[in-house]
């Protein structure tokens, strides 16, 4: 039975079942005449857990009753992603992007590719190290670059993957910082420290 089930789920079920049996057996034992220490009622822990869970369940219900954006209330329609990307201004307010936005940007670029091209064998020799050097070169001449600019004209899948890996490596080494103005906005890469020109 358990074999065919999700093991995690089955495990949790077993833990609960044994906890209940444990409690039951402790309740059946006669209490020592003179209790050495004040023993907590074995049910207390479980009850505390249940009460805590109940409190959060209510909190969750409370939250869903609020007027929720895009369900009950709406704001002025935001610009479409394409439009914001076309209008990068110098006054963009920069926010730090998470790895998720970076992955999303990567995903968008890959899906933009022509499917046919993916079948071709790419003979271009390239390594992550090459791309890292290229990015650092560009960052020393330009103050910042966007992910798109880094790719240039050649937008092969391999190129995008390598650029993405290079970026991740550079972020890990804390050599670059990555910012984005708005959700779906252009991702800009800055040198972490001002480089000597």
């Amino acid at each position: 039975m358990i074999k065919s089930l999700n093991l995690d789920l089955a495990g949790e079920y077993l833990v609960m079942a044994s906890t209940l049996i444990h409690i039951k057996s402790r309740m059946l034992l006669p209490e020592p005449e003179e209790p050495e220490e004040e023993e907590e009622d074995p049910r207390a822990e479980l009850v505390r857990q249940l009460l805590e869970y109940k409190a959060f369940k209510e909190a969750a219900a409370n939250l869903s009753q609020r007027p929720i954006l895009e369900r009950d209330v709406f704001t002025r329609a935001a610009l479409l992603p394409e439009e914001t990307e076309k209008a990068p201004s110098d006054e963009e307010e920069l926010v730090e992007v998470s790895i998720f936005e970076l992955i999303e940007a990567f995903h968008r670029l890959v899906t933009r590719l022509d499917k046919k091209e993916l079948m071709e064998i790419d003979l271009e020799k390239m390594s992550v190290t090459d791309i890292i050097n290229e990015i650092l070169d560009r960052l020393s001449s330009e103050k910042n670059v966007t992910f798109d600019e880094l790719l240039g004209e050649i937008k092969s899948r391999r190129r995008i993957v390598y650029t993405f890996l290079a970026l991740l490596e550079l972020i890990k080494l804390r050599m670059v910082k990555v910012y984005q103005a708005t959700a779906f906005g252009v991702i800009r890469i800055f040198p972490a420290v001002e480089m000597e020109a």
Binding site: K57, A60, N62, L69, S98, T182
Partner: protein, 199 residues
């Protein structure tokens, strides 16, 4: 005074995200902050009194025009979309993070008693939660917290505006009454009830 109010109104409409007081200050440096606050409160009241299609709300540390909740169904019709709703599991996980942040996955799971991985993933994708760091314990688990978008979506000024957890207070007190006995007035008991004289 009247024109400043008009300017602020225009700024809020033109702003994509909720417009904060600080931003208004940079546009109108000659006006005192306290005065701006008064004008904003007046604007909020004006829209409330007008009871039209939109209202002005203070949300996520800024001000934003929103359509009235009662009109949601019509706007949805215009946009032709399904209501974006979260599953019960996701909502519970979100509530736990909101009240207990910063929090790691195992702490969430000890409250809900089940795996929270999927719910966390969904909430991260919807940008309601974010990673705030890693806990300095073996395994370096990820610490989660809510985002500004969480405040926007649920129409909260800040986290302190979350309704308080009534039960949490009781939980912090020593659990004396394990089985809560509710003394209901109309409760029928098998035992003969003792009648207090003169009650």
């Amino acid at each position: 005074m009247e024109s400043i109010k008009a300017i602020i109104e225009a700024l809020i409409l033109a702003s994509e995200a909720p417009l904060g007081l600080d931003k208004i200050c940079t546009v109108l440096p000659q006006v005192e902050k306290s005065e701006l606050k008064e004008i904003l409160a007046a604007l909020v009241a004006e829209y409330k009194e007008r009871a039209g299609g939109i209202y002005l709300e203070e949300v996520a540390g800024g001000f934003q025009f929103r359509t009235r909740p009662e009109l949601g169904q019509w706007v949805k019709k215009l946009k032709g979309m399904k209501p974006a709703s979260l599953s019960a599991a996701a909502m519970e996980t979100l509530a736990i993070v909101a009240y207990r942040q910063p929090i790691v996955k195992s702490e969430i799971e000890s409250i809900r008693g089940v795996d929270a991985g999927h719910a966390l993933k969904v909430l991260m994708e919807k940008k309601l939660l974010r990673i705030v760091g890693r806990k300095d314990v073996p395994g370096r688990p990820i610490i989660y917290g809510t985002t500004k978008k969480f405040l926007e979506v649920f129409g909260l000024k800040d986290l302190s505006e979350l309704p308080t957890l009534r039960e949490l207070k009781e939980l912090n007190e020593p659990a004396e009454n394990v089985v809560p006995v509710e003394a209901d007035e109309g409760a029928v008991t098998d035992e003969p009830a003792e009648e207090l004289p003169g009650s």
